[in-house]
């Protein structure tokens, strides 16, 4: 199967996306520069643990649900979180694979992506419901929170149908147009929305890992202790 698209859709899939992507990258660069310009709190105390390994542990704790009570106590929620974010990566990825490496988008690969999109759509619906009904979530939610999850859920729904049609050998459909228009909108909008949290994630995790790693709280089994009490 070889899917081909019209010149107009090709323009939306490539040059338009590249412009939007460049804009997003520029916005992120400004954001990151702003954070890096701010001083990190100094650490002149003798360490009880290694700050670098603390930062690495902290960065990768997303893969260890048992590390945090908030994930170990809510494994179903955690599983949803993983599926949702894998789906995000695959969906964004597919917007590059479709125009750039369509041969990669075999029916099997497309079906896998489609399944993740479908699951993420259902998870998105559940998250919307949760945000609307759970009092402690509702009270902290802003319109941006609702808009972001509704947008993502709609994106997954459109992506799911688009992928289905792609597998059926129908590359140029109204859904494909909507899918790429949404992608373009995302690239332009995300830097201003909470969806850009993934840019802040490494900062938050590294900050946390550096502080608590240095104090020997995180990396208890791998201490690089400079503190050496002596008794005369």
């Amino acid at each position: 199967m070889e899917n081909t698209v019209s010149h107009a859709l090709a323009i939306l899939e490539e040059p338009v996306q590249y412009v939007a992507l460049s804009f997003m990258a520029l916005m992120y660069a400004i954001k990151i520069r702003g954070l890096l310009k701010k001083p990190f709190p100094p650490e002149k105390a003798e360490l009880k643990g290694d700050r670098v390994s603390g930062a690495l542990l902290s960065l990768t704790n997303v893969l260890r649900p048992w590390d945090m009570e908030s994930t170990s106590k809510h494994l179903f929620f955690y599983t949803e979180f993983i599926i949702f974010h894998v789906a995000v990566a695959l969906t964004i990825g597919s917007t590059f694979f479709i125009p750039l490496t369509p041969w990669l988008m075999t029916p099997t690969v497309s079906a896998v992506i489609m399944v993740f999109m479908g699951l993420a759509f259902l998870i998105g619906l559940r998250r919307i419901y949760r945000r609307l009904t759970v009092p402690e979530i509702k009270i902290i939610s802003s319109p941006d929170d609702y808009f972001a999850i509704i947008l993502m859920t709609a994106f997954f729904a459109v992506g799911f149908v688009t992928m289905y049609l792609w597998i059926e050998g129908k590359p140029e459909t109204g859904f494909m147009w909507i899918f790429f228009l949404m992608t373009t909108f995302f690239l332009l909008y995300v830097p201003f929305s909470k969806i850009s949290h993934y840019v802040l994630y490494p900062f938050g995790r590294v900050n946390y890992g550096m502080i608590f790693g240095g104090r020997g709280v995180l990396n208890k089994s791998k201490k690089d202790i400079t503190w050496d009490p002596k008794i005369s």
Partner: protein, 462 residues
């Protein structure tokens, strides 16, 4: 004479007359019962200076996932009040931040929950960040994004305090420290007399005739610091600590000057005061030429000395440790022999002070001490870095206007203590001591509260 000594007008050598400790000129920080437009304008000026990378990331990084809601002792113990969820509380500060620094927040503030600083928002900040958060960092520990609530809340408190909006009693505690060199205004001569009296009491104990509590002993290895509650209300804890150190043959001293290990400026967010108190102590350790600054059993005091002091004063030429760590080391090295039969028939549990465990890294040492001293030790459901705050942290005990909420927030800790069936709740912090005593009383739990030195001292085989 050092710069600090010159600044404070303190003599280089001890004299017979009591010294004027603390700052040369006394002060009373202005107290404001409500915000004025001028105060809000001043707060706007102060905000940028508080935004280090951790605070800025924490303000920008919350995704409102709500995972912090069951991490906080306030929201867990008082589930009917949803405004005690950590994300909600922090949002009182975050709304203001977003109105100034978030791109979308500046154009469409209500869309991202941004809000310019108003009197109402500032009052909410005051209520939630002074009276609804102990900066225990349990939510930080459970935050997928690594939002550091402790550092963020301290920054907000610091801004409010600067304009005079700080709980009066908390500010008075800091002012007392500033004016007198310790937070309970214990005069130097009275302090020395108390220590001498405790020393006599110690020497009256069996096998302790030669034990001493040296004051201002130059060249001692350990510079022991105390919580002012000890000479004022709990002298037996000083006696217990001194007994343990003497039994192990530790060379230690207590200063007649800056012996107070507390630093309530950690709680009200005033960096200048925090640095000043830290410098007094740092100078005093160097005056006596001690190798170690030894923190007594005090949660925030330990953290302030061990982890913050070196940063506040720009590094120190001595080492910093704690009685908890030292006792564990002495037991491991066989320098303390303990008789477990003293506590036979009693069940013990241990409450980890947030500043000692989660923010301090002392996790296993207390267990080493306890297991050497007793046979029946039961952990609470949440322990070590996962321990719930007792509710007495963050200066909460110095804010009587929030006491009902503080006691209510201690329910989860009370439930966990009760579940262990322990007769004795051990801890290493004086704020925890007072809060735990109130909790066991309020929730009708049949348990005593005791610190580690009090546990070890009676079991010593001398």
């Amino acid at each position: 004479m050092s710069d600090i000594q010159e600044k404070l007008g303190a003599p280089e050598e001890e004299t017979a007359a009591p010294e004027k400790l603390g700052a040369a000129e006394e002060r009373k920080w202005p107290f404001k019962s409500e915000y004025t437009p001028e105060m809000l304008a001043e707060m706007e000026k102060l905000l940028p200076g508080k935004l280090n990378r951790v605070v800025a990331t924490s303000l920008a990084g919350c995704i409102h996932c709500g995972m912090c809601s069951d991490a906080c002792h306030y929201s867990v113990s008082i589930p009917e009040d949803k405004t005690l969820v950590p994300a909600y509380k922090a949002d009182r500060f975050r709304k203001w931040y977003k109105s100034r620094y978030d791109w979308m927040g500046r154009i469409f503030p209500s869309f991202v929950g941004a809000q310019p600083l108003t009197k109402e928002l500032a009052e909410e900040m005051y209520d939630k960040l002074f009276g609804g958060c102990t900066m225990c960092r349990r939510c930080t520990y459970n935050c997928p994004m690594g939002v550091d609530y402790g550092m963020m809340v301290r920054a907000a408190r610091g801004i409010m305090q600067q304009v005079g909006r700080c709980p009066a009693n908390l500010q008075e505690t800091v002012d007392t420290h500033y004016n007198h060199g310790n937070n309970m205004a214990v005069p130097q001569d009275e302090f020395i007399e108390t220590i001498e009296w405790i020393e006599e009491e110690l020497q009256d104990e069996d096998g302790c005739a030669n034990f001493t509590i040296p004051v201002d002993k130059k060249g001692a290895q350990y510079f022991l610091t105390l919580n002012p509650r000890e000479p004022k209300y709990y002298p037996l804890t000083i006696q217990a600590t001194a007994k343990v150190l003497n039994a192990a043959g530790i060379s230690f001293t207590i200063s007649s000057r800056y012996w107070d290990l507390t630093n309530y400026a950690l709680f009200n967010g005033n960096d200048a005061d925090a640095k000043l108190f830290a410098m007094w102590q740092s100078e005093d350790v160097q005056r006596l030429g001690c190798e170690y600054l030894l923190s007594g059993e005090c949660g925030h005091g330990y953290r302030a000395l061990r982890w913050e002091l070196p940063n506040w004063v720009g590094g120190v030429p001595f080492k910093i440790t704690s009685v908890m760590e030292l006792m564990a080391l002495l037991i491991e090295q066989g320098k303390l022999k303990l008789d477990k039969s003293v506590w036979a028939g009693k069940r013990f549990t241990y409450h980890d002070s947030c500043n000692i465990a989660r923010s301090g890294g002392i996790l296993d040492e207390p267990r080493t001490v306890i297991r050497a001293a007793v046979d029946d030790f039961v952990e609470m459901e949440h322990n070590k870095e996962r321990s719930f705050c007792c509710g007495g942290g963050g200066g909460a005990l110095a804010m009587p206007e929030f006491s009902p909420r503080r006691i209510a927030a201690g329910k989860i800790k009370g439930d966990e203590i009760r579940a262990t069936g322990a007769n004795v709740v051990l801890q290493s912090c004086h704020n925890c001591t007072d809060q735990l005593k109130e909790i066991v009383d309020h929730y009708h739990i049949d348990a005593k509260v005791m610190n580690l030195a009090e546990l070890v001292a009676p079991t010593l085989v001398l």
